[in-house]
C-alpha cells in the first residue's frame, strides 16, 4: 500500500467511526433535543483542542449475536483537550451506539482516560448518556462499572472530577457521578435513578413519570445529587467552563490567579442588612458587595437554599464561600444544608481553596422530621469538615450567631484563623426571646403583667448579650469591623495566610459522620 492509499484507508476507517451509530440513530438523538457525543466534546473544549484516544477499540463479546455487531468506538469517545488553555481529560458516552450501553471495552476506554488524568494531574470530565449495562456482556459490564467506581474513589481529592448528565444515567451507572465532585444536569434531558418508573410500578405499584422521579429539577432541587442545573446543553457547557477557571488542576496546585477587579458599585454593603434581626435579606448580595467584579459562582443554588455555597475571587484568587441564607428558612442548619456545606468545605480543603464563612444563623431547624432524619449526624458533618480543614479559614459574623449554629459556622473554636464581627453581630447562646423566656421564667410567670415583664426582660437580654462584645472580651473574635472594611480585612487575611501550613495528627484517614 502506498502512503497515499494507507492515508485514504485511515480516513475511511475514521469516517466510519466518527459517524457513530449511523444517520438514523444520530437523527433520533437530535430529535430528542440532544447534541451528539462529539458535538458535546467540541462545545466544551477550546476549538480544535480535542485529541481522541482509542478510536479503534472494539468489543470482544460473542454471546447473543454480539460477534456480528460492530460498535464504533464501543459507544464512548475519550481523549484530552483544553478549556481556556487549561488541560483536561474527557469522555463522552455515545447514545447513538447501542444506546451508549457499557460493555467491558467501553469501560476500559473510560478507566484508561481516568488513569491518564490521575498520572498527569489534570481534571476529568465525564459526559453520561447511556441506557446502562450492556446486558449481552453479562458480568463483564458489571466489572466495568466497578473498575470505574474504584478509580473515581481513588481520584477523589487528587484531581477534580466533573460529571455531566446528558441523557439517561440509571441503575449502577449513577454511582460514578455520585462519587465525583460536581454533577451537571440539563432540564428535560438528564434522568437519574437507581430503579426506573417501570420497575417501581411492577414491584411497588407506585406510578410516577421519569421526569418526576429523577429529572434534572428533582436532582437539583430535592435530592441534591446535582450541583448545577441548566435549561439547555449550551448553558450547561458555559457553566462547566466557568467552574474550571475557579479550581486547580490537582491537589498539589492552587487555582489560577486572575487579574484583580474591585466589586461593582451596585451593591451598597451598608444598606443590605435590615436592622431588625428577624428580617431577611439575600446573603448573596453581601458576597457580591465584597468579591472581585461582584462575580459569585453559586453551587447547588436550588438545593437546601438556606445555605449558600460557591466560588468567587479576592484579588484574583479563588475563595470558597459558605453563607447562611436568612432569606430561606431563616438560614437555619438542617439535614440538607449541613450535608451541602460539609461536602463543599471538604472539596475546598482538598484543593487548597481558602474558605470564607459569612454567619447569620438562628440555630438548627427544630422538628420531628429533622431529628428522625438524623440532623445530629448530618449536622456533625459541618463540625467535622471545618475542624478538619487546614486551608486558611476566615469567618465574618454579620448578625445572628446563636447556640450550636455559632459553633458550627467556622467559629474560633473549630480552628478559624480569622474571626471578624460586624457591630450588628449577636453572639449568644440563643435569641433574646427564647433566652428571656427560660432565664426569667419564674419572674415572668409571677408578674401581674407577664407580657410587659417579658418584653422588658427580652430588651434587657438584648442590650446585654445581643452584641459582639461579650465574645470579643473573651478573644473569640479578633476584631469588630465596619461592614465597609469587610473586603479589606478578607484581602489582608488571605495575604497573611498565604503560607499557612498546618499538619494533622498522623492517621490513615478520619472517620467523618457520613
Amino acid at each position: 500500500m502506498s502512503i497515499f492509499q494507507s492515508l485514504v484507508d485511515l480516513f475511511k476507517r475514521k469516517e466510519k467511526i466518527e459517524a457513530g451509530g449511523g444517520e438514523k440513530a444520530v437523527k433520533k438523538q437530535i430529535e430528542m433535543g440532544k447534541l451528539t457525543a462529539r458535538q458535546r466534546i467540541q462545545s466544551i473544549l477550546d476549538p480544535n483542542s480535542f485529541y481522541e484516544y482509542d478510536m479503534f477499540v472494539e468489543h470482544k463479546a460473542e454471546d447473543f449475536g454480539m460477534d456480528k455487531k460492530f460498535l464504533p468506538g464501543d459507544g464512548v469517545i475519550t481523549g484530552t483537550g483544553t478549556i481556556f488553555g487549561f488541560p483536561v481529560c474527557i469522555f463522552a458516552q455515545d447514545f447513538t451506539v447501542a444506546g451508549g450501553s457499557l460493555g467491558i471495552a467501553h469501560a476500559r476506554k473510560i478507566t484508561k482516560i481516568m488513569d491518564h488524568a490521575m498520572k498527569l494531574g489534570i481534571p476529568l470530565i465525564g459526559i453520561n448518556d447511556s441506557g446502562g449495562a450492556r446486558i449481552q456482556e453479562g458480568v463483564n459490564s458489571l466489572a466495568g462499572y466497578g473498575e470505574i467506581f474504584f478509580r473515581n474513589t481513588r481520584a477523589s481529592g487528587v484531581i477534580p472530577q466533573i460529571s455531566v448528565i446528558l441523557g439517561p444515567c440509571a441503575g449502577g451507572a449513577v454511582y460514578s457521578p455520585a462519587l465525583t465532585d460536581f454533577v451537571f444536569v440539563v432540564d428535560k434531558i438528564s434522568k437519574m435513578f437507581i430503579t426506573g418508573p417501570e420497575v417501581i410500578k411492577t414491584v411497588l405499584g407506585e406510578e410516577i413519570s421519569m421526569e418526576e422521579l429523577g429529572g434534572a429539577r428533582v436532582q437539583a432541587e430535592i435530592s441534591g445529587n446535582a450541583h448545577f442545573f441548566a435549561e439547555s446543553e449550551q448553558e450547561c457547557f458555559e457553566q462547566i467552563k466557568k467552574l474550571v477557571t475557579f479550581i486547580p488542576w490537582n491537589n498539589r496546585k492552587k487555582a489560577d490567579v486572575f487579574p484583580p477587579k474591585p466589586p461593582k458599585p451596585d451593591f451598597d454593603i451598608t444598606k443590605i442588612i435590615p436592622a431588625e434581626s428577624t428580617q431577611p435579606y439575600d446573603v448573596r448580595d453581601i458576597i457580591r458587595a465584597i468579591c472581585d467584579d461582584s462575580d459569585f459562582f453559586e453551587i447547588q443554588e436550588h438545593f437546601a437554599a438556606n445555605i449558600v455555597i460557591g466560588f468567587c475571587r479576592f484579588n484574583g484568587e479563588t475563595v470558597g464561600i459558605i453563607g447562611n441564607q436568612p432569606l430561606v428558612l431563616a438560614g437555619v442548619l438542617d439535614v440538607d444544608s449541613s450535608d451541602k456545606a460539609a461536602r463543599f468545605i471538604r472539596f475546598c480543603d482538598a484543593f487548597n481553596i481558602p474558605l470564607l464563612t459569612l454567619v447569620d444563623i438562628p440555630g438548627y431547624l427544630p422538628g420531628i422530621d429533622q431529628e428522625h432524619s438524623g440532623v445530629i449526624r448530618h449536622g456533625a458533618k459541618v463540625l467535622y469538615a471545618y475542624s478538619e480543614a487546614t486551608v486558611p479559614k476566615i469567618t465574618v459574623i454579620l448578625r445572628k450567631a446563636y447556640g450550636g449554629g455559632y459553633i458550627a459556622m467556622c467559629s474560633r473554636h473549630l480552628g478559624s484563623d480569622f474571626v471578624f464581627a460586624w457591630p450588628t453581630a449577636e453572639i449568644a447562646v440563643m435569641g433574646p426571646e427564647g433566652a428571656a423566656n427560660i432565664i426569667f421564667r419564674q419572674e415572668i410567670a409571677e408578674a401581674q403583667n407577664p407580657d410587659e415583664v417579658r418584653k422588658q426582660k427580652v430588651e434587657e437580654y438584648k442590650q446585654k448579650f445581643a452584641n459582639p462584645y461579650r465574645a470579643a472580651a473573651n478573644g473569640y473574635i479578633d476584631a469588630v469591623i465596619s461592614p465597609l472594611e469587610t473586603r479589606e480585612f478578607v484581602l489582608h487575611s488571605l495575604l497573611i495566610a498565604k503560607n499557612k501550613k498546618e499538619d494533622m495528627p498522623y492517621k490513615k484517614h478520619g472517620i467523618p459522620p457520613f
Partner: protein, 106 residues
Amino acid sequence: MNDINNLNEFIIDDTVYKTRINKKYSLKKQYKPKDNSIISAFIPGTIRKIYVSEGQKVNRGDKLLVLEAMKMKNDIVSPINAKVKSINVKVDEVVTKNQLLIELET
C-alpha cells in the same frame, strides 16, 4: 439587588423570623404517632392470605395476613393482644404503602 417578597413567619426559639419556605420543607409529611391497633402496609404489595376473621381474638405475635412484596411473602403479625375489629382487604388485593389492612381493638 433581589426583591424580597413571599415571606412567611417561621419560629425558632420563640423568635418569629420572616423568611421563605422552600419546596422540600413545604412537602414534608406531618408526623403521626404509631398506633398499634392500626395495621397498615409497610410496603406496597399484594395480599396473599388472610389468617383471621372479624371478631376473632388474637395474641401478640399471631399471624394476621401475608403481604407479598418484592417477591417476598411477609407474615404480618399482631403487635398486641386484641380483637380483630375489621378486615379492610381481600386476598389478591393490591395495596399501596400505608394502606389500612386490619383494624384491631383492645
